[in-house]
Symmetry: C2
Subunit: 211 residues, 2 copies
Amino acid sequence: MNTGTEAPRRTRIQQEKRELILEAALEVFSTNGFRGSTIDQIAEAAGMSKPNLLYYFRRKEDIHETLMQRLLDTWLAPLRELDDIGDPMTELRSYIRRKLEMARDFPRESRLFANEILQGAPRIMPLLAGELKTLVDEKAAVIKGWMRAGKIARTDPWHLIFSIWATTQHYADFDVQVRAVLGPNRGGDGRFEDAARFLEQLFLDGLKPKG
Amino acid sequence: MNTGTEAPRRTRIQQEKRELILEAALEVFSTNGFRGSTIDQIAEAAGMSKPNLLYYFRRKEDIHETLMQRLLDTWLAPLRELDDIGDPMTELRSYIRRKLEMARDFPRESRLFANEILQGAPRIMPLLAGELKTLVDEKAAVIKGWMRAGKIARTDPWHLIFSIWATTQHYADFDVQVRAVLGPNRGGDGRFEDAARFLEQLFLDGLKPKG
DNA sequence: CAAATTTTTGACCGATTGGACAAACGTTAG
DNA sequence: CTAACGTTTGTCCAATCGGTCAAAAATTTG
C-alpha cells in the first residue's frame, strides 16, 4: 500500500543516525558552505563511513535540504510570536532579545542561513519570496498599526525588521570578527549582555543625547 | 640584482591581465566562497584558459589573497575618515551614509568579506586582531570622548560600530533576501534611499514616539 | 534456532579539482 | 631577418569529488 509519496516509516536506528548526520552536517555546512563541504567531511564528523551516510541520505543536497527546512521553522519562530496583544515597545524589545539569544545559542544555524543567502539563496528562493515575505508583510502591518496609534515612532516597518535581523545575527555570523575586535576581556562571555544593553538603548532612544 | 624579494616588475600586459583576473575572481569568489569557487570558473569569467590564468597567479590562494589585501584598505576607509573635528552627530550620520553607499556600490566586496568571516576568517585572522582592532579601539576612544562631552548618548562605542557595520552591510550581504521580502515595488532601486532614511532615524532618535 | 531484513563497509566509478609542463605562438629589440 | 623574451594553450597528472554496488555484518522477526 506504499505509494512512495507518503512519509517514510523509519526504524529507531534510522531516526538516530539521521539526527547524528544532520548534527554533523550542520557543523560542516555552516562553516564551509554547501559547495565547500564534502560528504567525507560530514561522514567523518558523524563518525561513520561515506557509503553508510549515503544509505540514510542518498544525495548531499538531501541533507542540506532537510537542514534548511528545519532551520526556517525555528528561525522565524520569534517573528511569528510578535503579537498585537502586548505593549508595542515591550513586544519589540522582547523580539530583539529573543533574536539575540538565538544568535548566541544557535550560531551555526544562523551561519548556515547566512551562507545560503550570501550565495544567492539558490535553494530557498521560493521560500523567501513566498512564506517569508508573507510573514514579514503581516508583521509589518502590525507594526504600522502601532505607528498609527502613536505607540512607536513612524518609520519603515520592513527596514525596521531588517535592522533587527542584521544587528542580532551579526553576533553569530561575524562572531570571529566581534571577538577579535573586542579582545579577550570585552570579547568574553559577557559580550552578549553588552550587546543586549546596547541594542535596547539603540532601538529605544537612538544616539541623540538626552535634553 | 633581483633578490626575489623585491616588488616584481610587470609589463603592461601583465598589469592588464592581472586586473582582469581579479575582477573575474571577485565576481566568482563573492558568490561561491573560496572553496566553492574553481579556477576554471574564474578563468572562464576572465575570458582566458586555465593555464593562462595560472601564468599570472600561480595558485588559487594567491588570487584570493591579493583580493583580500586590496579589499581591506578600501573597506575600512570610511571608518578611518571618522574624525574628531566635525559635529559628532553629523560625523556619525555621514559614516553611516558612506557605509550604506559602499554596500550599494560594492556589494561583491562586502560579500567577499562576509564569506571570509563566516568561514572563520582563516586567511585574515591576524589582520582582524591586529590592524582592525587597533583602528576600532582608536575610533571607540573618539566616540567615548563625544559621550563624555555630552554630544551623543552614553553607550558602548564598540557595539555601536558593530551595529553600523551590521545594518549597512546587510543590504549587500543579504540583498537577495531584502529584495525578495520587499517585493518588486519597494525592492527596486529606491530601497537604498528608504534604508538610508530609516537608519538615520533609528540611530538618531530610536523608536520611542516623540512626546 | 533460522530466515528475513536492515545496516555497514570496501572497492570502485566517472567527473572534477588544482596545478605542472613543454611546445607553440606573439612581440619586440637589435 | 633573427634571437630573445613574453604570452598562450593542449595535454597531462594525482588527488578529490559525489555517488554506486555487491557483499559482509548486524539486527529483527518468526
